[in-house]
C-alpha cells in the first residue's frame, strides 16, 4: 500500500521532494536589471582573469630525478621544446625522461610542450 506515490502523504509533503526543483527560479526576487549588472560584472571578472592568465602565460615542466641529481624546473610557451638536461645517479644509466612513473611513455627531445608536465627520470641499474 505505502509503496504507491501519495500526494497527500503528510510525510512526503513536508519534505521537499528532490526532483521537485522545477520552480528553481520562481522564488528568485531579483530584477532583470540587477541580474544584468551581475552578468556584466561576472564577465568583467572573467576578462580580467583571462588577461591575467595570458600575461602570466607559460607551462611549467618539472623534473623528478628519482634519486639522481636534481634538475631545475623550466617555464615554456606552447609549442616550445624543453631545454634538454640530464640527471646522474651512482651506478645507474640514465635512459631519459618519461611522462609516467612506469617509464612507458618517454618524452622526446624534440617533443613540443602543450601543457604543464612532470617528467620522471628513468634509470637502468
Amino acid at each position: 500500500m505505502s509503496e504507491r506515490p501519495d500526494l497527500k502523504d503528510p510525510q512526503k509533503t513536508q519534505q521537499t521532494t528532490p526532483l521537485n526543483l522545477h520552480n528553481l527560479y520562481s522564488h528568485v526576487k531579483i530584477s532583470v536589471k540587477t541580474l544584468d549588472k551581475i552578468i556584466v560584472g561576472l564577465i568583467l571578472v572573467l576578462v580580467i582573469v583571462v588577461v591575467y592568465a595570458i600575461s602570466n602565460q607559460g607551462f611549467t615542466v618539472e623534473f623528478d630525478p628519482r634519486g639522481g641529481t636534481p634538475v631545475e624546473s623550466q617555464k615554456h610557451l606552447y609549442g616550445e621544446k624543453i631545454d634538454w638536461e640530464v640527471s646522474e645517479r651512482e651506478g645507474s644509466r640514465f635512459l631519459g625522461w618519461a611522462v609516467d612513473e612506469d617509464c612507458k611513455v618517454f618524452w622526446g627531445e624534440d617533443q613540443e610542450i602543450t601543457g604543464s608536465v612532470r617528467l620522471y627520470a628513468c634509470w637502468e641499474e
Binding site: 532583470v32 592568465a53 612506469d102
Partner: protein
Amino acid sequence: MNEKKFDKKKILDLLLNNAMYIIIALVVIYVAIKRPKFLGIASIINILSLTAAKLPIALGIAGCIVLAGTDISAGRIVGLSSVVTASLLTTTSKIWPQLTDALPIPVVLLIVIAIGALIGFVNGFSVAEFSLHPYIVTLSTQLITYGIILLYMQGGTNNGMSLSGMIEPYKELITGTLFRIGTVSVPRYVLYALIFTVIMWFIWNKTVFGKNMFAVGSNQTAAEVSGVNVKKTIIMVFMMAGIMYAITGFFDAARIGSATAATGQNYESDAISACVIGGVSFVGGTGKISGVLVGVLLLQVIFTGLNFLSVSANMLYIIKGLIILIACAIDMRKYLTKK
C-alpha cells in the same frame, strides 16, 4: 523615442543572452591572431576529436539535468569502465593472470555497459524510490565506484600500476583512421560519438520515454497525476546516463592508450558545465541535444585556445568556474524575462 528605447533594450537582450558565445568568439579571434596554428587543420581536428570523446558523457548527464537533478558519479563510472576495458582487452593482463588471451571486443563492451547500467540503476532507484537528492546519491556512488576502481587495480599481480598494452584490433576499432584530411587523420570514435548523438536525439524527441523525461523534469507531481510512470522514468534516465559513461570509458582506454585509477576524474564537472552552457537548464524540463553538442564544442574550443596561449592549468580552473557562473546567470535571466 519610445521605439528607440525598445530597440536598445532588444540589443541589450541579445547581447546579454548570448554573452557566452560572444566571449568565446572573442577568445577564438584573439587566439587565431596570436597563434595562427590554432585554426590549422591539425588543431581543428584535435578540437573535434576531443569534443567527440567528451560528448557521450555529456549526453548522459544532460538527461539527469533535464530531470532537474545531477550526476556526479559520471567521471568515476568512466574510470571503472576504462580500467575494466583495459584489463580485459590485453594479452598480458596482470589483473587476470589466468587470462591468456583477450576477451572478444563485443563481450567486453557488453560487460562495461552492464556495469554502467547497474551503477546508473542504483543512482536512479535511490532517487526515485527514496526521494533522495541526486547529488547525495551520486556522491555516494562516486566514492564507492572509486573504491572499487582502486581495489580492482590491486587485483592479481597488478599492484595499482597503470594498465596499457591493449590489443591492436581494439585500438584500431576506436582510434583507427576514419578518413584523412591532408596528413591529419580523423579517428573513428568521432563517428561513433556522432551516432550516439543521433540516437540520443531520437530518444529525447521521438519516444514516449523522452517526452516523459521532460514531463517529470518540468513538474513531477503533474507528471504523476497525468499517468507518467515517474519512478520508472527517473530510473531509466540514470541507467541511460550510466551506459553513456561506460561507453565514454570504453573509448578512453584506447584514446589515451592507458588506464589508471585517475582516468575519468572530474569528467562530470566538464560535462555539467557543457550542459549548462548549452542551455540545458537546472530548472528542469528544458534542454536540447543540439545545445549539449554546442556546449561541449564551445568548452573545448575555449580551453584549446587558452592552451595555445600557454595559460597554466591552475588558471583554467578559475576560468572554468567563472564560465559556469556566467552561464547560470544567463540561464536565470532567460527564465526571468519570460516570466
